[in-house]
Amino acid sequence: MTKTDDGLSATRRLILQGAGAVALVVLGSAFGNLPFGLAPAFAAANDKYPEEAFKAKSEADAIKALYGKTPEASDKVKVDAPEIAENGAVVPVSVTTTLPDVTSISFLVTENPVVLVASYKIPAGTMPSVGNRIKMAKTSNVIVVVEAGGKLYSATKEVKVTVGGCGG
């Protein structure tokens, strides 16, 4: 269980309850200035760590906690990951998409003890592509979820993880 009791609550603000249906476009205004009356789907602020999502045991729960929606598979989301990971501790995975108005990209590994690995906030003006290095406990599907134009899309790739080596 990822224990976050220690640091976060003492120093940070409230955690967002999932995502609203409206994608928030951040214009020139200083961040934090949300148009009133709209439930913030995304606030361009360096806060609101999705603690609940990082506790979820299934990808459905994690995605629900993050976005409050379910994704539809899309071939416009391109996941680049190896066939066989050199080592499950450091698996380079990247994603790129041609979908417009991307506001968030998340990575999930279905067989990991904590399914959600990372969630990235993409403010307007930032390219909809991310590269990172993730841990995979074993052979698993890597699911990338993209929030674009208020809707959710996903793509999946299976990555094999082996424990290898001579007696090691």
């Binding site: 640091g7 976060l8 360096n46 760590y49 690995v117 590269g131």
Partner: protein, 103 residues
């Protein structure tokens, strides 16, 4: 003390490509040590990149990100010589920040 954050930000005129490598154990809390005891979770929870005072990229991480975490992204704008501020905070409340110049 040297920062834990290494950043490479390169402007191609239209966009700025950013790569960051951070020195951090990123313990997931699922691994046992030689004595068989769980190594407590210790990982960066949030990593923020700011340009011109505004976030251009925010990473929410769990223990499933590799040790000495790496991330790569790009944003429109950014000029050579401009500052890019990078900060992180981990689950123990520790933090670090650095400002890099866009090349």
């Amino acid at each position: 003390m040297a920062s834990t954050i290494r950043v490479r930000a390169t402007s191609s005129g239209e966009t700025t490509e950013v790569q960051a490598l951070i020195q951090h154990p990123m313990e997931s809390g699922f691994v046992k040590d030689a004595k068989g005891e769980i190594i407590p979770p210790h990982f960066i929870q949030q990593l923020t990149f700011e340009y011109g005072g505004k976030p251009v990229f925010v990473a929410d991480w769990g223990g499933g990100i590799s040790k000495d975490p790496y991330v790569k992204f790009a944003f429109k704008g950014g000029k050579k010589g401009d500052d890019l501020k990078v900060s992180w905070i981990d689950n123990k409340g520790a933090s670090d920040t650095t400002t890099a110049k866009i090349q």
